[in-house]
Symmetry: C2
Subunit: 211 residues, 2 copies
Amino acid sequence: MKIGVLGTGVVGQTLGGKLVALGHDVMMGARSADNEKVLGFARQTGGKAGSFGDAIRHAEIVVNATRGDGAVPAIRQGDAWLDGKVLIDVSNPLDFSKGFPPSLSVSNTDSLGETIQRTFPQARVVKSLNTVTAAIMIAPGKLPGAHSIFVSGNDAEAKAQTADLLRSFGWQSIIDLGDITTARGVEQYVSLWVRLLGALGTAEFNIAVVK
Amino acid sequence: MKIGVLGTGVVGQTLGGKLVALGHDVMMGARSADNEKVLGFARQTGGKAGSFGDAIRHAEIVVNATRGDGAVPAIRQGDAWLDGKVLIDVSNPLDFSKGFPPSLSVSNTDSLGETIQRTFPQARVVKSLNTVTAAIMIAPGKLPGAHSIFVSGNDAEAKAQTADLLRSFGWQSIIDLGDITTARGVEQYVSLWVRLLGALGTAEFNIAVVK
């Protein structure tokens, strides 16, 4: 499948590398197509490099792995090629302006997932994977048992396609929370996640929903 | 142990009843000592009934099980008797003014737990149990495995006493998140909890932290 990964940080590199390894035709997008990190990705993985716009144009499925505050500007660079595409938003609206732990730049009565869906109504946005660190996103088997990952979005088929990708990463317990407003739940959970990071001393953890 | 339970709703009744059953000397407090529900508690459990002030005066450990917006006014009725006491805050700052699911009336850069600690510096506030429904608070064994409960607070001894109470309810996986600011984490998690309630169709669930 043709996948565009927006963002060249740890999350983008990790997801992009895994998607290439799974046989997908991946283009990573950066602010400019000659960005060092995006060229490094192409060199190291055999994936492709481009601008944000190039990556969206390339893609059947777009993965937003930018920093939260960069998401809307990045996606806007390719909004002419978003029509009907699945856009998996894995980012978090983290505000580090007051240091660590971060607060959220949007929360409680709105979310970044909703902001992206509202700003780009032609895309089919699915919020997912933002509740775990990059290493766990692509290798849930590093942790014991069937711990949980979530999908939020308005389009059932887009969520089903996202769930297929998640299963290809090894995810077994995929919980459909409902429409894109449920992104508030998984984004606000990140406020607990950062406190657990402090208490546990590792980012490699997750939660299993038990009933 | 002498325990004062503030609040006569499902959470207060459930916790109060369990604490009586465990042999504690429990007084439930309401806005007035002749409140129907607090008298019903005394009649049904053999516990005691009083005003919020009476319950705090009675207590070595105070449990705040009021509705979030009623917490500070309720505690204020007994603030003359709070000195040095452990105050376990199990409430959530839920705002139902826009219907269901609720948003939070305080979140992100503050929490109800912190508000209570700031307002009543003479108390030793521990945030706990707000992440599960009342039936699970007192009977975690209803769910399989060692799922998780959290404590947040500035006073180590107060957290240790709270953990003792939690263990007497059956809790095995008790995670100390850190100081009272970590109440932001567990209170914002409730935004995910209400979405999981919708997705799972039951309130009797919890999360297990897996690492």
